[in-house]
Amino acid sequence: MSTLQVSVYRYNPENDDAPWMQDFQIDTQGRDLMVLNVLQMIKEQDSSLVYRASCREGVCGSDGMNMNGKNGLSCVTPLSEVVKNNRLVLRPLPGLPVIRDLIIDMSLFYKQYERIQPYLQNDERPPSIERLQSPEDRDKLDGLYECILCACCSTSCPSFWWNPDKFVGPAGLLQAYRFLADSRDTHTQERLSELDDPFSVFRCRGIMNCVNVCPKGLNPTRAIGKIREMLVRNTA
């Protein structure tokens, strides 16, 4: 049995009143393809389907989508990992507005990322060559800098679904901690004072959906815990 039943979320606001699911039969010839390969085969059948993809190797973070109920990158998700009973259901990442088919509007996601000022800030005079960092301090950034901003985590987080305008979300907070933990950044106090309201950090209830879906195996919940610890120390 090598014919896969694929059901894809379709919505084109110019023609459709409401989203609908389109079914396709895809002959995988028994191969364990990546989900993105299946999408490419579907596009040969129906070229009106649109989705984002670029590097097709889990580096660019363009093709985040919901595959059989779980967020992930379609290019690095083999069928054997998600397909159940020979069925595959593809939907856009949940919680953000759909532009068309599997493409979502990520404006709010980027707005939250922008809010945490994801760049090094240092008021001291730059040395002639570069700001040095000990290997131990550099190690603190491991598990933080690898994020590719695919939005799989934030769009799997109920707190982000309910308050995407106020809660920074796991992706943004992982990056917030990446700069809080950086020994070369001197704006720690300013960064913390931007995060101490009841929403930005504290809407995290630690359910770890973000950890469950991260295609890079990162742990935003742990980073959020560290930020919370810094905030509490700062106040108490």
Partner: protein
Amino acid sequence: MVINILNPGRNGVADWMIQRASAVILGLYSIFMVAYLLFNPDLDYAAWSGLFSHIWMKVFTLLALLSVAAHAWVGLWIVATDYIKPAAIRFGALLFVILALFVFVVWGVQVIWGV
């Protein structure tokens, strides 16, 4: 708006710490109560009202009562701002919650000091 009106001068760190501290107090009170009931299987009115006649028990109970109010207020404020999106309905719900908690505390104080 609700954040400003029904949450004056509060921040996330304070909320978080209130939630933890009140949970610890309620935990201790619950453990005490369960232990007391287990060690006094043939409890009668005299023993029960004797327990609550001690000033330390009144203080401990009042502390637990205030912890319930604080814990419920922070928790329900979070639940309401997550799930009740129309501002007017949320405002009404939170007003009801805070009034109910106020009544429970005043009533509770009267009960505790009435022993």
